[in-house]
Symmetry: C2
Subunit: 613 residues, 2 copies
């Protein structure tokens, strides 16, 4: 049989493959991971590649491809659809660097809320006229699967008779929680999908999961469109309070955003049979259409602590119309369902060692404890760690300076930039690196002051020889991280005195909060630190320790957990026991209101120094 | 104190009353039943009267009155709002005679699905931040009323915090089935209302009930707008099957019709907290948006037998948005939720005597049995008993001839007409009377033939002397019931040979069905006959016995029960035990498919004669 060579760029992987094989098969042989949710059926549109050479060696465009590929997208093909009749070179498009939230491979016992049961429904006869088709389905599920006492969503009832007739009684029922039939379809049905959603104040991340296999199939993300009304939760509360209809505008925005993500999966919405949601309490209220203003001022009362189940259709979310959305518990205005997600993902309550979990987002959320009890606190770090309130701050997207080293001799920096782009700004991990580097190089002192003064006579620690330390147009000191020739913006990128102060305030709030929590718990030492959140994955722990952001801990016991909140949502999607665990453990959580502690101010001031007093 | 005289027309009732009393108080003193749901608060608009004399003796129009009374309606006042300062004569507007379905006074233990609980919610503090307002409400209900394990409708959650704050923690929760909070409102709240709805193929009747007192406050009705697509259920099935979107058109029509009735109550929709529905299985499916076509042909499969609970908002019914609608069980395509209503209203299953219940509507529904078991059957009577398929047939509305006597000597008829109007046609009870009268007067023979032939030589039974017996323009025999001078239509109203045949077919179907059911059950005699349905209340039982429509039974043991189906809906509204009873007893019901019985044809032919062979 004829063989052809297929090359995959940019990885450069290659393989020999039989005449007539598909590009998807070639990718598998070459070890190239191509997104494919539908397993090559041409219905998910996820296995797109761009043909660089050898288009004429491929079979013609199919109807399925025309579904997903616009005329304008020259060279694009679905790998599962085109067959190979000659040598070909294709390029696998790089993922957009919109967000770096990513799902870890999840290992959890599979016990999802929705399970599928295939049943045979006997044809009706004049002898059992007293039975409706609904009762026939119920009896079949009881007899063939031992399921009894089920209810049936009203919307399923509408199409029930036609489905049974069309499938000649050979149907599959999707049963929610062993309680309610939420779908009835012909038995040739495919997988049951679920979506775990993390509604962040800035970014919405979603994990598309196969409820049958326990695999996370895809990670999708989008910017939370509410960001147009302000970066932080307080600005959203303000918008809801001051703008007529503001709440419903924001609820519509997040609904549309999630529906956009669902469209992006390429799946038929009706195939997504479950959804879990984590988010902070303000996002939670807005998503549900509940006025969040109570959370904005003392006594900070939120509407509901308990986890919720709401029909997707009630919220206008376009998954299966009979499916439920599970929103994890929001213990208080400060400790949201996102913390509940972190809690079940990392399970401090079942650890012997004392673990500190820090989720750094717009605010710093802390969990501290072990199997004897877990405390939570919220630190007003402000958004400096997210690159906001920093002169050249930006989010961790392409062009962001994410790693910084400063030579202690030459005072020259080395930079690492996301996405092989020219520098456009500094993200959170970069600013922490920069402050740590400036301190180690003696450019800032322990109070955080940029040491611009020239020493007379010049001494070894004199910094006047580096042009990078200078005054800006308004006479304020700054350090040039990247000269304008190196940047994508055409301007120098600098770290200003104010930037250093912002980092100091943020790290002091976090450190003081941790110390205070330890003191309250009578805890002497911390065994392990886990940094949660996308930011935590990219932070340089040596830099974090160097500036005194983290309490004392052996560096080898400091690790990152990625988007643990999102992972908690994924766990809750795959295993209903995790939902109960989230509810139980969130209820047991002891929350400490740090800012109300009389000792806070002293701790905070002491923590301002680098590393700290 | 000054006294004034108030006269109420057309009843002519009068009373003396103190200066400054309201017209509503005067009506009560005079013994005149004025519709008043709100108890004189000016919010229901039901106590309208027309002032015939003495307008200047009344207080001025109030805001409440302006709400309900259009400028054009000269002399109209709300009796509860206007105070009396002189002699007055008012007229109580007669009820429209659209339908004669009427609620009986119901006696049932009060155990409604929705109950109100007044609770005090303590103000939140920084010390219990872990509690959402929802949890605060739950704890208060548990502590103050022993209610635990409640859920809370998602829509209630949205307004929860504002309600609690506005009412300073003094709130009333409406709890459905001891399970779910469907409303939270300030504690100065009023009554809890419920609506029992009987969706007939022709007429929709609704009973507005006070769930707190057990009183039926009002009876409202409207024509089912689906009637535009045909009079009987088969025509509705045909419309759903043949007209694109026909099902959703009809669902919209019944929804709008019920919402119109709800508007007519004058209540705030949110105050109606429960609703029960009875109807035949075709109306049931259309109301729920389920394709009814399965019911139209063998094996006559309906979608669901079990009773249903559906949120009102899912069906677009404008009662409280969190309230449920309970639809009574529909045992089969032929035995609908209306039969379930009749069953619980009349309770044959707990009687010692053998009772036959006949619900005559467009079809004849039969229930027969006692505490040892109840059988049901459906007789294809056709709509003759409703005045349809009768040349001058009409519904039982103003102008309908509802009673007929024919003098056996003179062959002259005496008529009773609904609503003191001129005759416009004949309704069901009238046509039965007419056929019975024609038979007794010898004008028709036992085969139903109009004896038009003249006898040579003339004999005593010769009918040639009455001009009322004649040939119509097409040469078909007919009997003139009302000369055109007496009618409101300007034309003679006659009973035709075809009319007599239609009545014979209908009564034969009913009689044969009953006989067959008795035979199947090995029953020799019937102790009691109850005629249900609006029609049953107006039928003359002597006439029914005379034409052989009813099986042998002592006339004193034949009675009418009014709209028993609607009464069943009212009972189910006031007492949830009745819902369980309806489900249990409907499931036990043994349905006999009469038309499939080999003996049916013989019974049917034998029953065609008057009274019968």
């Amino acid at each position: 049989m004829k063989k052809h060579t297929v090359v995959f760029e940019p990885a450069g992987a290659r393989c020999e493959i039989n005449d007539g094989a598909t590009l998807l098969e070639a990718a598998a042989r070459a070890g190239v991971g191509l997104g494919s949710i539908c397993g090559g059926s041409g219905i998910c549109g996820k296995c797109r590649v761009t043909v660089k050479a050898g288009m004429s060696s491929l079979s013609g465009y199919t109807d399925a491809e025309r579904e997903f590929i616009k005329q304008a997208e020259v060279g694009l093909r679905l790998a599962c659809e085109c067959r190979i009749y000659g040598d070909v070179t294709v390029r696998v498009p790089p993922q957009d660097m919109v967000s770096r939230k990513a799902a870890r491979k999840v290992s959890v016992n599979l016990d999802p809320a929705v399970r599928k049961y295939s049943v045979k429904i006997a044809p009706p006869s004049m002898q059992d006229m007293g039975k409706g088709d609904r009762e026939r389905v119920m009896e079949a599920l009881a007899a063939q699967h031992g399921l009894s006492g089920l209810s049936l969503d009203f919307h399923v009832l509408k199409g029930l008779q036609k489905t049974i007739r069309d499938a000649r009684g050979d149907v599959t029922a999707s049963v929610w929680m062993g309680r309610e039939i939420i779908r009835l379809e012909p038995s040739v049905s495919g997988a049951a999908y679920g979506l775990a959603v993390d509604i962040g104040t800035t970014t919405v991340a979603a994990y598309l999961c196969d409820l049958g296999s326990g695999n996370v199939l895809d990670t999708l993300s989008a910017t939370n469109p509410q960001a147009a009304h302000g970066e932080d939760v307080m600005s959203r509360i303000t918008f809801a309070m001051t703008e007529p209809g503001g709440l419903s505008v924001m609820q519509g925005e997040i609904r549309d955003c999630i529906n956009g993500i669902i469209r992006e999966t390429g799946l038929t919405p009706g195939d997504i049979l479950d959804m879990t949601v984590v988010c902070n309490t303000v996002m939670h209220h807005i998503f549900l259409g509940i006025d969040p203003s109570g959370i904005g001022a003392a006594p900070f009362v939120h509407a509901v602590s308990r986890p919720l189940y709401v029909k997707a259709r009630e919220l206008g979310i376009n998954i299966n119309e009979s499916a439920y959305i599970h929103i994890l518990p929001a213990a208080s205005g400060f400790i949201g369902a996102d913390s509940a997600g972190v809690l079940v993902a990392l399970g401090p309550y079942s650890r012997d060692e004392k673990v500190l979990i820090i989720d750094v987002g717009t605010n710093g959320e802390i969990l501290l404890g072990d199997r004897d009890g877990v405390y939570s606190a919220s630190c007003a770090t402000g958004p400096a760690f997210e690159g906001a309130q920093i002169r050249f701050g930006m989010r961790a997207a392409a062009g962001a300076i994410e790693r910084v080293w400063i030579d202690t001799e030459t005072k020259e920096p080395s930079l690492e930039i996301i996405g092989n782009a020219r520098a456009g700004g500094i993200c959170g991990s970069g600013i922490i690196d920069a402050v740590a580097g400036l301190f180690k190089a003696g450019i800032i002192d322990k109070t955080g002051r940029l040491r611009l003064e020239r020493l007379e006579p010049p001494r070894a620690e004199d910094l006047s020889h580096t042009e990078r330390l200078r005054l800006d147009a308004l006479g304020r000191p700054e350090y040039v991280l990247a000269w304008k020739e190196q940047t994508g913006t055409g301007a120098d990128i600098t770290v200003t005195q104010a930037d250093v102060r912002a980092v100091q305030l943020a790290k002091a709030a976090l450190y003081a909060g941790t110390r205070l929590l330890m003191r309250r718990m009578g805890m002497e030492r911390i065994d392990r630190i886990i940094l949660a959140g996308a930011f935590g994955s990219y932070i340089n722990k040596e830099s974090a320790l160097a500036i005194g952001m983290l309490p004392e801990c052996a560096p080898e016991n400091i690790s990152a957990a990625g988007n643990a909140a999102g992972e908690g949502a994924v766990l809750a999607l795959f295993n209903i026991g995790k939902r109960e665990e989230a509810e139980r453990e969130t209820a047991k959580l002891k929350h400490i209101e740090i800012s109300m502690d009389p000792g806070f101010q002293d701790e905070f001031l002491a923590a301002m120094d680098i590393p700290h007093r």
